[in-house]
Amino acid sequence: MRPSPRRLLNILVPVKRAVDYSVKIRVNPQQTGIDTNVKHSMNPFDEIAVEEAVRLREKHKESIKSIRAVTIGPSKSLDTLRTALALGADSAIHVQIPDTAPSPEPLAVAKTLRSIIQKKNAEASGEGDKIDLVILGKQAIDDDLGVTGQMLAGLMGWSQATFASKLEVDEGKQEVLVTREIDGGGEEIRCKLPLVVTTDLRLNEPRYASLPNIMKAKKKPIEKLTPEDVGVDFTPQLETVKVSEPPTRVGGGKVANVDELIAKLKDAGLA
């Protein structure tokens, strides 16, 4: 009896160059946004996404045909792609926007990802070359919007499993069993491929990109695309009117005894 051919999976991992987690955020002098002249690095949730893709390959070996990283950003985003390649991705795609352009909005990002997936699937020579799994971070630590994954699934008409804390892929059945983090515990859902997964913090712990891997990553291919190539307009639909810091904390005062405390509470209208 001939064994059925194992289906191959192609994983796409979108990553974002975001303000580094250790940076103390400051509002810029014009009060239109935050000071972006600070250290940037890959969004931690996206690191978890890349790590998950690499772990899937370590578990399923040849079934994972390719892991592609993609980012939309200025020229400095190349560093983020190199990090993804050093962590284990095979190749990368860079959609380059001007250095002075504002950060792309989630809908534009989702449309770009859809365009890339459609392009790659159209170029694919067979069913085994089509992108069937997209793993991305649930939110970016600089804007905390958390909507790109859901928008992409909606645009593509694919299944979606957000806030994933556990992934079990059955490539033979073309299904993925996902445990989602929800209020009050975990929810297990069985999803049919193609699928969009967004990663929760508890999915895995990313590895360290060692220096030999970083050197190897320099040889991996990066494809460059422009907004015209993907046919998406990145003009923001939202205008940020003002950004200001929260009011500074006023210091507390000490009271001498209980009577004074009660008097102060009465003054404040709380007793």
Partner: protein
């Protein structure tokens, strides 16, 4: 350029530690300066066991630093994005 295997290992370790040292969270702790002094202190070692011991110490420091970085990042993220509680609506 010597192809001495322990020399190559020491060089690789130095490069790796140097890269790690750039991200050290405390700016007043001169990680790379201290690391260089430690390497220079041991540059004239000839005994195989001593060299091995020194390289193992270097690897240990590398792993400790990596653990420091990953714990710091994890603690920060866990604080910023706590698991959703039952009492949240």
């Amino acid at each position: 350029m010597s192809t001495n295997p322990t020399r190559l290992r020491a060089l690789a370790l130095y490069k790796e530690l140097h890269r790690l040292g750039r991200d050290y969270p405390d700016p007043s702790y001169n990680f790379n300066g201290r690391m260089r002094k430690l390497f220079e202190k041991n540059r004239h070692l000839t005994d195989k066991d001593e060299i091995e011991k020194a390289l193992k110490l270097g690897e240990f420091i590398k792993n400790e630093t990596l653990a420091l970085y990953s714990l710091r990042k994890y603690r920060h993220l866990k604080r910023m994005y706590p698991p959703t509680s039952l009492t949240e609506l």
